[in-house]
Every structure is written in structure tokens, then in C-alpha cells.
Symmetry: C2
Subunit: 266 residues, 2 copies
């Protein structure tokens, strides 16, 4: 392909859409976006879901957090849920607003600005990102649909060193917020685990979120005290070692014992 030519097409495209925008009553608010740090856990490592930023003029396709400018007159939470629904096919996922990023220069490279303006057909000045994190059970569904349309894929947190826009900063702050919340709210572990899980998986969840290791015996002592973690009469199958007992989470117990738990896992 002829590179001179490609450049020309690109510039033309950019100007066309900018022009179109000023004439129409665009449905996107050019100042507001919602971005989602979607955490998942595959019984080994903490992962996040990223999408590819794509377009005809892109020199470096780059990874970004799933998110979007918000439609006028749509609730932010509802919109964040839509993003999740499209990517994961799931409704009613755990969703928590953790921070809003609004520096005027957070989107500053010409490539970044053009990508947004072309994608949404708006002229932007400052885009404020209201950021949410959410928790999903990786095993519970497949990403086939969204892999086709958005190239959404899970990445190990430790492998991510660069993201488009300021999404690296957003991801880091989201992880911090998750760590903070886990201290108060053990509930969130069960959003990441399958229905039936072993205590080792639960411990791995804690460890991969907090980035530290817990003493195995002390951890189990604590779990033993939590009335909302129920032992089942089932064991792991097909493992090449002593199979672990499986447990489930009892939401009713959890609700009634909520108060005693606040100080629980520090």
C-alpha cells in the first residue's frame, strides 16, 4: 500500500467527521466518558479485560480499557453496565465507581484526540473519565462475541506495562481501590470465584489482589470462623494430588452477619 496516499485519506477523514459533528445534534456528551477496569480471576492470577483501539489510520494498535463517551441522558451506572454487557454478555455484575479523572491534558496526543473524535463523531476539549471497576467470574461465560467485534481479551495484570490514553494510571488506581475494598468487604472475592471453590482458590484470590502471601494455617482459621462460607460434601475431581474440599458462599448468612465482618480481614 502507498503510504503517502494513506496519509491523505486519513487527514481527509478526520476533517470530514469534525465538520459533520458541528452540523448534527450528536448524541454523545463530548466531555464525559465512562471507563471500566474489569477484573477477573482464573483460579490462578488476577486479570483484566482489555480491548484493542482500532481504526483505519492507526499506526500502533494499542490496548485500552473498555469504555466510551456517554450518551446524553443516560445514567452513568447504566452506561457502565452496557459496556459490560456488550463485552461479557453478563448483566448485574459487581460495579463500583472509584475515581474520576479530569485533568484537561489527560488526552493530549493528536492520535488520541483524533481517535476519539472519529470514533464518536464529536469535537472534544476536555474529557472527564468517570471510572468504575467491576468483578466477573472468568469461567462463567465466553468472550466469543466480543472477541470478534472488539478483540477483547484477558491479560495478566503483571504483564501490562503500557496502555492507550492515561489508562495505565486508571488501572493502577482501580487496583488500589479494589485492594482497599477487599479489606472491608470479603464479599468481593465471591464475585471473582466460581460457585464452588476450594479454600486454596479463595486464598489465591486474596493473595493475587493484595500482592502478598498469607500463612496458610492462619488463613484457614479465619475462614473457619466465617459462618457465610459453607463446606460442601464435594471434592475436586481429576486433580493429580489430594483433592480439596469445595465450599460455597452463603449470601443470606453474609447479610445477617454483615456488621461483625467489617473488621474481619485486615
Amino acid at each position: 500500500m502507498d503510504f503517502q496516499n494513506l496519509t491523505f485519506i486519513f487527514v481527509f477523514y478526520t476533517y470530514r467527521t469534525k465538520y459533520a459533528m458541528t452540523e448534527t445534534n450528536n448524541q454523545y456528551n463530548p466531555s464525559l466518558s465512562v471507563d471500566c477496569v474489569i477484573f477477573g480471576f482464573d483460579s490462578k492470577q488476577l486479570k483484566i479485560l482489555l480491548v484493542e483501539r482500532s481504526g483505519p489510520y492507526q499506526t500502533n494498535p494499542q490496548l485500552k480499557l473498555p469504555g466510551s463517551l456517554v450518551l446524553k441522558n443516560t445514567k452513568l451506572e447504566v452506561y457502565a453496565n452496557q459496556v459490560l454487557k456488550e463485552l461479557t454478555g453478563l448483566n448485574e455484575i459487581y460495579l463500583k465507581q472509584f475515581y474520576t479523572f479530569g485533568n484537561p491534558d489527560r488526552i493530549k496526543t493528536p492520535e488520541d484526540i483524533e481517535w476519539i473524535e472519529n470514533t464518536y463523531q464529536v469535537t472534544i476539549e476536555r474529557v472527564v473519565s468517570i471510572s468504575y471497576y467491576s468483578l466477573v467470574k472468568i469461567d462463567q461465560y465466553n468472550l466469543n462475541l466480543s472477541e470478534e467485534s472488539y478483540h477483547a481479551k484477558w491479560y495478566n495484570i503483571s504483564d501490562i506495562h503500557e496502555l492507550a490514553f492515561d489508562h495505565m494510571e486508571i488501572m493502577k488506581k482501580g487496583l488500589e481501590a479494589l485492594r482497599q475494598e477487599l479489606i472491608y468487604n470479603p464479599l468481593i472475592c465471591f464475585e471473582l470465584l466460581p460457585e464452588k471453590f476450594s479454600l486454596r482458590e479463595l486464598q489465591d484470590t486474596y493473595e493475587s489482589i493484595q500482592g502478598i502471601e498469607y500463612d496458610n494455617r492462619n488463613f484457614r482459621k479465619k475462614i473457619g470462623k466465617a459462618k457465610y462460607i459453607i463446606q460442601l460434601n464435594e471434592k475436586q475431581l481429576g486433580v493429580a494430588h489430594k483433592p480439596a474440599l469445595l465450599y460455597k458462599f452463603d449470601k443470606e448468612q453474609y447479610q445477617t452477619n454483615r456488621l461483625e465482618l467489617i473488621k474481619f480481614f485486615i
Copy 2:
């Protein structure tokens, strides 16, 4: 004064400014506001600083949180600091973003919409409020300047039952966030207290934020362990009872002992 006449003037005024807005390049972003829940402590009760929403057409002057639409190309934190500077005369106040309120219908009454549009000379659709709380020492300055221009006054938290817009909700969430932070970060007490304070004042600060009472002896035992709280060779003066010893806060000690403190005051 003739009420018919007043109404007419009001309507005219509203339309004029709306028209003006579409023609000019207004400096305010009509989608973004910053609101501040400014906490203060007068050695007895937790208070917040409120301003009067005023205008020529107001039937019920109402109290609101200090805040404003943000100027295009101004950092949110910088803008929140400006609001504080204008009201309190102080720079470098403790400031923390705690939540963003963005429901499309959070500003819905005609009076609310008109007040904003007239005050800032913009047409609004949805206004997202990025909300901060801040902590100031009430004794350390006077509010004379801002009392004149904004009618800013301190109100006891327990006396506030109604605020303009959705500011009651914002205030409640700000108080919750403050309570949460106090658990991790005893530092914030010292943002509310004068340089020299008694242990009773420190305990009152905790109690008025958390809304619960602490056992006086146990509280002092904890303080005794905190190396960053320094006893002075001074006593209260002019009190009609045994005068309390005064203490100060040692910021250097605090920084170095930061890690051991994370679990401190639960």
C-alpha cells in the same frame, strides 16, 4: 414591589442569557461542576460550610454546598482549591475527591436549572458533579470576606436537613467517605484541630466524625502508643476545671511511621 412585574423581568433575564450563551464562546464547561463538602471542627462539633444560593428571582433562598461549574482547561483539583481559597482565604487545605454524581436528572427542577444557567450564562443538559471534601481548622481564620460576598457560614451537621439541588445526598456521601478515611488515616484529625490541642479535643474529633463514643481510658492508651503525638509542657488556661495538657502533632514522625499506623485506629 409589584410581583407581576418582577416575574416578567425574571423571564426576560433568563432568555437573554440563554441567547447570549449560544453566541459566545463561554468559558464554563456546562457539563462539569466541582462541589466541596468543607468540614470544620470547633472543638465541640463537626460542622460544614454552606453558602446561600441567591438571585433576583429566588422565592426561597436555599443553602447549598460551595462549588461551581468548572472553567474549560482548568484542573479539577486546582478549581476545587480556588473555591476553597475564595471562601476561606486559605491555600493548601486537605482536599480529597470522594465521588462523582452524574445522574441525568440530578438537577431537575426549573428553578435549579434556571439558577445555574443564569449564574454561569450557559445552557445545561446534564451536569456531572465531581465532589471533594476538605478539612479546615475553624479557628485559624475568619470568614469575613466570604460572609459578605457569599454568605458562607458554618452549620452543625446535625442541624442540616435540606439543601439545594442534590447536595444533601452529596453531603451524606462525603461524611461517609470521611468516616471511612479516618479509620486508615489518623492524619486527618490534625487537619481539623488547632496546632495545640488536648486529648479530649482529639477524642471529640473522632467521636463527632464517627458519631460514636470511645472509652476515655482506652482511647488514651492508644494515643500513648502513637509516637507522632507529642506532649507539650503547656496546659489549658482559663478553664473552670483541671486544665488539660496540650499536645501537638509531629508530621515527621508520622511520615516515618506511616506503615505501622495503617491498622491503628479501628
